[in-house]
Subunit: 198 residues, 2 copies
């Protein structure tokens, strides 16, 4: 509800049911969370492409991309990371309300941030834990960020000097430490289809 | 381009062409601008519903709705209004990139804000001026906001104590002062279809 008494919520004339009928699938949010280099973006983009091939309408919201646009005014302090996740949660909610299959790829290290993301969405929300431990991610280090963080060149880096709160009851776990990428992509696609197809 | 050297843009594996083929229409932004009570939200919601009926995929981003979510931390100061429009411009760009027909309904009083909205979108952007003068809007005053603004109870109200910069070269003008709502809705729908259908 609006706090400001001068704001008036305007209702859409299109119902969720109408949108679902139009697309032959439901909208929803598939919220990928995990350490840097756990495989979130790769899995998200691969799943988006595969769903597109099948005629489903998915879209990836990616951490680094959003930080170049909507959230380019924010730093990586705890407060700004929280605001970053708050904003993308609202965007994901709008897109899912529009009927899209939103696949988000954000480290989103804090439980509270993920809970809020679920709370603001009127469409089904699925927490997907991309599981790979810090040693695995640091060994991969495709962007050299762990190296910089260990050298003190990046502050507040999740897993190094900023915590990652492991999901307690995720809706899906993709273990990229022990599964190869193809297996994880396939599992993600199957899960999404099982949740959105009508 | 990212300013922060630690951010890496991730490319989608789905092209604009793929998205268009999937939906049989292009994505794009139809940016409705005009005074409070000029008819933006009504026109936007009516057009969304009509396009949905025709199987097209449209979604309305509405000023008051966004201020209850994504932008609920912002006031109506000039600076915060600018930030409000900056954020929704980025959201509209993301949604249009996803292939949606985005119909936005924001007063968006400043030319610079509207130019920036166009600049950040990779999809076609259309400025739609919802034309009704201040006398007409003040006479309508469905939410009683002009009355409050005249009484000094609302500050920075567009048209009263905050300026509205009329679009100089809008892509479409809908004159709700002299046309009835049905005519304006119809003209908006026809314009959108002419721009997005492939």
């Amino acid at each position: 509800m609006p706090k400001n008494p001068n704001l008036t919520k305007v209702n859409h004339l299109v119902s969720k049911q109408d949108r679902t009928s139009n697309k032959d699938h439901r909208g929803g949010i598939f919220w990928l969370t995990g350490l840097s280099a756990s495989g979130k973006s790769t899995l998200a983009m691969r799943a988006e492409a595969a769903l597109q091939e099948k005629g489903l309408h998915a879209y990836v919201l990616d951490g680094d991309n959003v930080r170049c646009g909507l959230c380019r005014d924010l730093s990586f302090s705890d407060e700004d990371r929280e605001e970053n996740i708050r904003r993308v949660s609202e965007v994901a909610a709008l897109m899912a309300d529009a009927g899209l299959i939103v696949i988000s790829a954000f480290i989103s290290p804090f439980k509270l941030g993920r809970e809020n993301a679920r709370a603001v969405s009127s469409a089904p929300f699925h927490e997907v834990y991309i599981k790979a431990d810090i040693e695995t991610c640091e060994r991969r280090d495709p962007k050299g960020l762990y190296k910089k963080a260990r050298a003190g060149e990046i502050k507040n880096f999740t897993g190094i000097d900023s915590p990652y709160e492991v999901p307690e009851t995720p809706d899906l776990v993709l273990d990229t430490e022990n599964q190869d990428i193809e297996q994880s992509v396939q599992a993600l696609i199957e899960y999404i289809e099982s949740e959105v197809l009508v």
